[in-house]
Symmetry: C2
């Protein structure tokens, strides 16, 4: 699934967000973003995949720190679920999800697949940051 070596791009990207391009962050960048399809994950799954067969390990704490930093920087998006675990998505564009209650799997719904014809006005002094739809499905 790895497309190409976008290392220089990642270095720039990280610098532009005041994140030092460390070995660990670049490794995680390559794993997350060098792919065609978007990727859904939890810290647990990311940790397993990153440290599967690597010579040098990335610590769990760093995985947590990095995911948090990338989310704040806008490179990742947190997904809403009812599980007590954080889910992330490499697709940061406005889009929605199917959540399969049986398999507990998330699938993207392209933003064009859902159209809202009416949206409420936010409370005074607040503005809308984003709008997410989760459609729970079952057999």
């Amino acid at each position: 699934m790895i497309i190409s070596d976008n290392l220089k791009i990642y270095v720039q990207k990280l610098r532009s967000s005041n994140l030092r391009p460390t070995k660990q962050r670049l490794k995680i960048c390559q794993f997350l973003f060098d792919r065609e399809k978007t990727f859904h994950f939890t810290v647990e799954t990311l940790n397993k995949k990153i440290n599967k067969n690597g010579a040098s390990k990335v610590s769990l704490a760093t995985i947590y720190n990095t995911v948090e930093a990338f989310t704040s920087a806008g490179y990742l998006k947190e997904i809403l679920t009812s599980k007590n675990k954080s889910y992330y998505d490499t697709n940061i564009k406005s889009h929605h999800h199917f959540y399969d209650e049986g398999s507990k799997e998330l699938t993207d719904i392209h933003y064009s697949q859902i159209q809202l014809s009416k949206v409420p006005i936010p409370p005074k002094g607040k503005k809308i940051k984003n709008l997410e739809v989760v459609i729970r499905i079952q057999k």
Copy 2:
């Protein structure tokens, strides 16, 4: 905020779901459902409120068991958030939420306030159980 003593109604309601109407369950029913406005809570907040000034305490384990039982029975609805904590809502009707990222508070959005003009077809063999919109707001 307590409206009236609906004890008999709760006894019937619980029986109809094969839940014995125990002291603890009835106490929780009265607290949750004897009110005009709907109520958002976590197990933590519910535990505090139920045990605030009561002569007899309801154990935390029972709060968990009861909330789980009431959710399965359809008396409560789990709310989708990005926090690692379960949120529940006494409003089980189809409706949506504002989630204030600053105060971390949830506000109901009546279902009529949001209108969808296009909804995707679920994957084969699956059907839609529900559809929830969360609008994140900030200053």
